[in-house]
Amino acid sequence: MANNEASPFESSDMLATFVASTPLLAESWRLCNHANTSPAAHRSFVAERIGRVAYVALSGVQMVGGCWYETWRNMVALDRMDDVAVFSCIREGEEPVMVHAGILNLFNSLLHSFKTQMLEILENKDTKSVVITGHSIGGATASLCTLWLLSYLRSITSCVSVLCITYGSPLLGNNSFSTAICRERWSGNFCHVVSKHDIMPRLLFAPITPLTSQLNFLLQFWQLSMTSPDFGKLAVQITDKEKAELFTAVMDYSEAATQGDEEGESQGEASATILFRPFGNYLFVSEFGAVCMDSPAAITKMMHLMLATGSPDCSIEDHLKYGDYVDKVSWQFLTQGNSSMQRSIPESSYEAGLELAIQSSGLANQESLIIPAMECLKATRRMGPSPVLNAAALAVSLSKVAPFRAQIEWYKALCDEQDEQAGYYDSFKSRSCKKSMKVNINRFKLARFWNDVIEMMEKNELPHDFDKRAKWVNASHSYKLLVEPLDIAEYYRKGLHRTNGHYMENGNRARRYEMFDRWWKDRTRRDGATEENSERSTFASLTQDSCFWAKVEEARDWLDSVRSESDTNKLALLWDKIEKFEVYANQLIEQKEVSKDVLAKNSSYSIWVGDLRELKQLREKLKVFPHQLTSILDGEVVP
């Protein structure tokens, strides 16, 4: 092992063993099957409670007439679901998050009843966790339901665990969708069970337009068979030739999808034909075992390689065989298995692990696929130190950037002492203090540090409970309180508000601050403590609302508008906003939640208060002499 920090072992196979050893697969499949076979559940779902786990299975029999193939591969943007914001992490310049239009429609038609059911489940205080599951198209709707539930639980800061288990689900979203799920750290909440040859999870790689009617018959066949094995015969059979065409098309396009990855151009227009991208975890099952993986590129490749060992017929039948697979993997742990394998085991631990994973995935019999499959697994190998060691290294880096923060604190104190009496926000904005340049450099260094932390989090390089550790929650919070005012100052100093709107609008605020807001909020929920207000006897050392100055800037804007606005309705609206802010600010000051720089004689806030007082006096006068309105506003008063 020595200095090489790459993971010395391969774990995809053991992780799958863990998943399979739990009752989750057996229970969820049983309920999926129930949802598929009971007519009452068609186009809907069934719910059941086992101990403290609530199970909800979406029926795979969901098809709505002919609309399915018309919307085949159509995608629509997804940003809100039922008024709950879904993703907070899409960056500027990135492709918007898109999902399959038809599936989103299905979801929307279910949302109302699903939501009612869910709220009922959550109301029960015994509910510790929720499994949402579904077979086939039911799997894809289950994913969307899970996504809604995750967003909803986040908005109410609940700690119920959610797991989505799908069986043979079609693909659902684009690359941005997959990335966003990963950045929200929700990948671990999705487990997609995909059998070795099932064509359904791979179908959407291909633009099937020439084959849409056959596809429609195929979907019908599947759905009827799910309802009852005998019903399958009632469906219009598609010919062997058509099956073969379909199979070939999917093979070709799934291969094209993997090539996009290999050339490193999966994002962007080069792979315009490959719209869909796997997300979350995939549990690939074969007759020899299972492997579990979470890298979209590796999953795409594995989907292709495993399909390559199949035939047109079995690619269709496999979609209906999840019951058998679940049964098999659930009891596999009892025996050593793989005894029929002839291949030898390499001496190196890592290579041996790869070999075992290949055997479990059922590819070991296909000489030509072994090398690409190994390459695919190797690409997922962790190359850096383990998350725990990364966190320890970050603790060191945090100490290293501590002096930068200390210097800014010192700068803040210095500004409080200065003759200008403007406070650090205004001093920094006007660059009047000669230390400002140095502080600006520190500001950059700190931003880089915290951005790196967030990036590591999103890349899953830090321990899963990292954002719940007091050390990091507190450090990020005090960083935010100290430095965000400087970011705001810089924003207004450069006049960016004139082109991009105010700081608080349209994602002008750096994402790290929003993350830290959330960490802080979650902390209070965990500790069961509401923002405890031990009464302050002196002003806070840092203003407790880090966006306070941005609010001041907006309020100043409103004051300016009041001066030039003549429309009385608009004027009333402006006054309303101004007064709301005034109340808010007074409240903060009264509770001593602001630091003393806010009240410095020449701070933007103090000036604003002065302006407001003048303007109010004017308004009073205007009420007495309304006819003088224009002359006053045009002439004497406006500076």
Partner: protein, 628 residues
């Protein structure tokens, strides 16, 4: 003829044979708490104490899914994570039974007698008698710590088919105290009992009682060996349930050993109850082919508990199910010749052959005899890999702490303290005032030194350091020096920035959250544990400044309060007590030279507070006189 187990030379064949006979003999008198026999031939002379097994489900599981609870630290003060002050968890039913034995029997007197006579006590037990033997051994180790001068002989514990009894911290703590070698657990390859507590009681679905009569050695039923029920589906069902739960625990642990970073594992672990129990001590797996495989790495033992009972074909299940009960009950007959012991220590585990290549060396044969698949062997390698990684992590930290820079930084802070003392200023106050460039320099050194200790704390938290770490004298020494010298600066910095207004007091006992950095909280506990002292609950010699600051805040406010007419009597009483305690402690610390007299310099925060303190708080005490 003497079978030496690794470095534990005291395990001799005669001793184990005697233990076996005692362990089974105890079952004949289940009404007795234990049986005792002396062996005058041994050198030192030995006393054997054996505990009988005990019957029903309630003796195995209390109500909760796995029936564990935090261990009684009064009985077992060492069984915890020291720094995090987190007690080990112990099976509640076993603990209750042990406590009953302590209170109702003469066990403690017998132990005292034997220890006084410098005898070696051998605690032993079979089946559910073993946990009693384990706890009696631990209790004796806690109560009679052996030193060169007292001549006590440490006890030994030999168990046969013992259930698991404690969690990972239980194992962690026994390794840290270097007690692993005192516990020898013999386990037959298929014996069901060592695996039972990996399952929640609920998973047996009422089957526990009926089946327990088959593995309970007390049970008088003669039916066991003869009747078909032992071979029926009852035993294979039971075996399957136990193995499926063992599979959950071991595959979860193995995924982590293999280094998975997949977040699904955390999500799923929220959905399935995973047993907290882990093996500890030295395990000896008896293969059934005459070989005894010795393993000490607890992660490896856990994997072996599962993999050694894995079937090679599904058809075996009926036969193995039967065997898993039968192997537990049958009295052991071991060939204890040295040549039959195979040691899987760190080296052997790291380089375990992955497949049966037909070689006839001991290690290969042992792996084959235990029926280990390549996957199983990989997991054992991974268990060794984790331990190896921990040793590497410690080594890297050792290099850092021994580096000249660290020493230089400490020297500079010491120098700072001296320079200030020459100026008649306590370095706490100088630092708090931050008036000179020396103060700034000292702050830089403080931060640099803190870095290393923060890294150590982070690694400890994630179990990325060897179990022994918190007990190693060299680390405790480094930590104590650092803490005593640097923590006053942290306190000064805290109150200089008036952080108490935002985050509560430095010690923060009231609001329940502590602002005191873990690098001091943890290291103070290491020191206290090493010195076998009671944990200080409020403050220590390195952070009493915070108490001074807090008291000063209270007394000033209360003086003001009196002016406004809301003088609080309770506050005065409490404060009086705190003042008295502080004054007393400072005196002791100064006498013991763990706190320097510079804290008493005129004008220090301490003296300023004391001088301004209204006499009703002082209660006739004085700070200066007892010292000078």
């Amino acid at each position: 003829m003497a079978a030496a187990v690794g470095s534990t030379e005291f395990i001799v064949a005669e001793l184990v044979e005697k233990a076996i006979s005692m362990a089974w003999k105890a079952h004949k008198t289940p009404e007795k708490h234990f049986i005792l026999e002396k062996n005058r031939k041994g050198e030192p002379q030995q006393v054997f104490i054996s505990f009988p097994a005990s019957g029903s489900a309630k003796d195995w599981y209390s109500q909760k899914p796995f029936g564990e609870l935090p261990i009684d630290l009064e009985l077992f003060p060492s069984l915890k994570r020291i720094g995090h002050n987190e007690p080990a968890k112990l099976n509640e039913a076993f603990q209750a039974r042990f406590q009953a034995i302590l209170s109702k029997s003469s066990l403690e007197t017998e132990v005292k007698d034997a220890m006084d006579k410098k005898r070696q006590i051998v605690f032993t037990g079979h089946s559910s008698g073993s946990p009693m033997a384990i706890l009696a051994t631990l209790r004796t180790l806690e109560k009679y710590p052996t030193t060169k001068s007292n001549g006590w002989v440490p006890p030994v514990c030999v168990t046969f088919g013992s259930p698991l009894i404690g969690n990972n911290i239980f194992s962690h703590a026994t390794r840290r105290e270097n007690w692993s070698n005192f516990f020898i657990h013999f386990v037959m390859r298929y014996d069901i009992v060592p695996r039972i507590l990996l399952s929640p009681l609920s998973s047996f679905d009422q089957r526990f009682e009926p089946i327990s009569q088959f593995f309970n050695p007390n049970h008088k039923s003669k039916s066991f060996m003869s009747e078909s029920v032992g071979r029926s589906s009852v035993s294979s069902d039971f075996f399957s349930v136990v193995m499926s739960n063992a599979a959950k625990v071991t595959s979860h642990a193995a995924s982590k050993l293999l280094g998975t970073t997949d977040s699904a594992i955390e999500t799923i672990a929220n959905f399935v109850p995973l047993s907290p129990y882990r093996p500890f001590g030295t395990y000896i797996f008896c293969t059934g082919n005459g070989k005894h495989v010795v393993v000490r790495n607890p992660d490896a033992v856990l994997q072996l508990l599962f993999f050694s009972a894995q079937l090679s074909t599904e058809a075996e299940v009926a036969q193995v199910g039967y065997r898993s009960l039968q192997e537990h009950r049958t009295k052991l007959q071991l060939n204890l010749g040295m040549e039959n012991f195979v040691f899987l220590e760190q080296d052997q585990l790291e380089n375990l052959p992955l497949i049966d290549d037909g070689s006839k060396d001991d290690i290969s044969m042992a792996c084959n005899d235990l029926g280990l698949s390549p996957r199983a062997r990989l997991c054992l390698r991974a268990a060794a890999g984790l331990e190896q990684q921990r040793l590497i992590n410690e080594k890297k930290l050792k290099e850092k702490i021994d580096s000249p820079e660290v020493e230089e930084n400490l020297k500079k802070v010491e120098k700072y303290k001296q320079v200030m003392e020459l100026k008649n200023i306590c370095y706490y106050d100088a630092f708090k005032n931050q008036e000179s460039s020396e103060d700034f320099e000292a702050n830089v050194k403080r931060l640099q030194l803190a870095m290393l200790w923060d890294e150590i704390v982070e690694k400890l938290r994630g179990y990325e350091l060897p179990d022994e770490f918190e007990g190693r004298p060299e680390w405790i020494e480094h930590a104590t020096r650092f803490r005593r010298l640097v923590e006053p600066l942290d306190v000064a910095n805290y109150y200089r920035h008036e952080r108490q207004l935002e985050a509560g007091t430095y010690l923060g006992k009231k609001s329940g959250k502590e602002s005191r950095p873990s690098r001091y909280r943890l290291t103070q506990r290491w020191f206290e544990h090493a010195e076998r002292r009671k944990m200080e609950e409020d403050y220590s010699e390195s952070c009493f400044w915070a108490e001074v600051e807090d008291l000063s805040h209270i007394t000033i406010n209360n003086v003001n309060g009196r002016v406004s007419g809301s003088f609080d009597k309770d506050v005065v009483n409490q404060t009086q007590e705190r003042v008295a305690k502080l004054v007393h402690r400072i005196k002791v610390w100064i006498d013991n030279k763990v706190v320097d007299k510079d804290v008493l310099l005129e004008g220090s925060t301490l003296m300023n507070w004391w001088n301004a303190l209204p006499s009703q708080y002082k209660n006739g005490l004085s700070i200066k006189s007892p010292v000078f």
